[in-house]
């Protein structure tokens, strides 16, 4: 009975390990499909685009910016992403790296001929999230219940998958100075995750077991929708103000899980092995967010800044008949970004740079499963002090060929560290990402 319960809990654990890096302190962390970073100009300016975007990137940053597009545009983006995750895991270090070049976006914009104002339609796809991950780590856990003592844990995880947004947007002029826009997105993706978890009695403290192997296979089919609305106000020839609001994104995870468990005994036999196939649906609802931006431009110089606010404590996660009580583990997050761009007068070249402060909304915690299912714990009990600061630096350049073809490239590097300040050896994590992104756009 206890074993069956363990299988269920392990399955439940898998729900989190699939969406996170697999560390016990990040089991409840859900990968957040951001709407950023699929356009080189935006990336190069640190993401400060709410009051700037006036090309296909407006569909993801501020749809009102579509109203500023005057020519038919076809745009494509390629992205080379590299990520490195370093963690301490039961006192041992573990690294995971991932490098991949992928097609990140394709957009088509059509400004409808108007006599007054503007009416622009946009269609496109954005690769929002890359779930690819390869992880192998091991460490000694001093207190494993199965052995009533220490055990060597080895965790191997391979995950592939992508989340793509198919979007349609429209931007139009409401008044000469005010534009509005809406983007509606259909989210579609897959995750295939295989995790092998081996617990070994290397000290010989247990007289029954040698090792226990749990193998999890998870096949997820993701689908969902979201909408983004925005306005853009031209306060003066040099100053623009923008605001956006994103509706809750509802993502359904059609889950197929396969769990295999094998216990290897001291006498060389398998005492227990089991296999279970589980089909369960999970629905994650990402909360509202709002953002405000301003830009100032003078001859050859453009400076912009954005502020975004998201109350991640409103994140909802429904797994089958259960609703996870996530509120204590997610907090409010206010991200700030600033960027600048300089135009050369003698050649059609523009250089840009940016900085972003994007705090990680998840509070590191270890949550016993039964306490996560419903009422949860008192937030006051979660006293893990965590440094959630995430800093992003970027730079880029763009060149206009023949007056019709723009090529923009950007480099972005981001890094953050999460450490349990009271006991860094218990958990610490450093994530660094480097990214090169190129966007080409042809305006007919």
């Amino acid at each position: 009975m206890k074993r069956s319960s363990g299988i269920f809990l392990c399955t439940f654990l898998l729900a989190r390990t699939v969406t996170a890096a697999g560390h016990p302190f990040t089991e409840l962390e859900i990968p957040l499909p951001t709407l950023t970073g699929t356009h080189a100009r935006a990336v190069g300016m640190g993401g400060a685009q709410i009051a700037v975007a006036e090309d296909a990137s407006a569909m993801t940053w501020n749809p009102a910016g579509l109203a500023r597009v005057r020519r038919i545009e076809l745009e494509a983006t390629l992205s080379a992403d590299g990520e490195k995750i370093e963690t301490t895991w039961f006192g041992s270090n573990a690294d995971a790296t991932q490098d991949e070049t992928q097609f990140a976006g394709l957009h088509f914009l059509y400004p409808f001929p108007t006599y007054r104002g503007s009416l622009v339609f946009g269609f496109g796809m954005d690769r929002l999230k890359n779930f690819n991950l390869e992880y192998k780590r091991s460490g000694m856990d001093g207190d494993v219940a199965l052995f009533d003592g220490p055990a060597l844990l080895t965790d191997t995880q391979t995950r592939t998958g992508k989340l793509t947004a198919w979007s349609a947007g429209v931007g139009w002029d409401v008044t000469p100075r005010l534009a509005a826009g809406i983007t509606v997105s259909y989210l579609k993706g897959t995750i295939l995750d295989e995790q092998d978890f081996l617990t070994e009695d290397v000290t010989g403290i247990d007289t029954t077991y040698i090792s226990v192997r749990d193998n999890f296979l998870l096949d997820l089919d993701l689908s969902g929708y979201s909408a983004l609305g925005g306005v853009l106000y031209q306060a003066s020839p040099r100053v623009r103000l923008g605001a956006v609001a994103g509706t809750p994104r509802v993502v359904d995870f059609g889950r197929f899980e396969q769990v295999q468990t094998q216990d290897f005994l001291e006498n060389g036999t398998e005492e227990f092995s089991s296999e279970s196939n589980i089909l369960v649906d999970e629905t994650i609802t990402f909360p509202w967010f709002v953002g405000f931006g301003a830009s100032w431009s003078a001859r050859g110089l453009l400076i912009a800044g954005d502020v975004r606010y998201t109350d991640w404590s409103n994140l909802k996660d429904e797994l089958g008949d259960f609703e996870l009580f996530l509120k204590p583990y997610y907090g409010e997050a206010t991200s700030v970004s600033a960027g600048g761009e300089y135009l050369f007068s003698r050649i059609p070249l523009r250089l840009r740079g940016g900085y972003g402060y994007d705090p990680v909304p998840f509070n590191l915690t270890y949550c016993p499963f039964d306490e996560c299912l419903s009422d949860g714990r008192d937030p006051a009990e979660i006293d893990v002090a965590v440094d959630r600061n995430r800093h992003v630096f970027s730079a880029g350049a763009g060149y206009l060929f023949g007056g019709v073809f723009a090529l923009d490239v950007a480099f972005e590097t981001a890094r953050f560290e999460r450490v349990i300040e009271s006991d860094p050896a218990l958990y610490s994590e450093t994530r660094s990402t480097n990214r090169i992104i190129a966007t080409s756009a042809y305006r007919f």
């Binding site: 700037v52 006036e54 500023r68 005057r70 020519r71 038919i72 400004p111 409808f112 001929p113 108007t114 006599y115 007054r116 104002g117 503007s118 009416l119 139009w172 002029d173 409401v174 008044t175 000469p176 100075r177 509005a180 031209q234 003066s236 020839p237 040099r238 623009r240 830009s295 431009s297 003078a298 001859r299 050859g300 110089l301 453009l302 761009e341 135009l343 007068s345 050649i347 059609p348 206009l400 023949g402 007056g403 019709v404 723009a406 305006r443 007919f444």
Partner: protein, 177 residues
Amino acid sequence: MDFRCRPGRRRLAIAVAAVVPFFLSACYTMVRHEASMDVAGDASHDGGRACADCHYTSEWLGYFDQPLIYGTAGYYAYDWWYDYYQRPWWFDDYWYDGGGTSPGESGARGTSSWTQRRLRRGEKPAAPSGASGPSLSTGGSSGVSAGSSGQSGSPADSKEKEGPHPSYGKKKRNPRR
């Protein structure tokens, strides 16, 4: 049947009900010219004057060169980006071929092919930095009215006739300058 709404959804419905009508009723964008276009041919009016009156006072004159509305000041200032960001594609006929009956339709001297347009746009524009479309070069009437008159100028014409950009907030300009 229970028609009660949860408080959160009710607030959302109220917000949507308040915002959507504003965007719809205040819709400024026009995809068709109003019937008043015929005013230009009305014997009781000075055609150009009638159009100019309407367009100047409505603040939407200068559809193409309005620095307040279209494009950031930085981009507006440079020829390199002017065509890329500023000029509507459906006015290529006016700009490159010198006229048409209305935006997006074939001009009097034929319609530019996409190839011709691309080649021309690849050149440094003949129009001065920030020059208005040819419609404005005819004396200040709107792009629509000027286009219908068939007097739209080439970029070179614009260069000769255009002055500095209208300053921000200056809604009424002298159409005869």
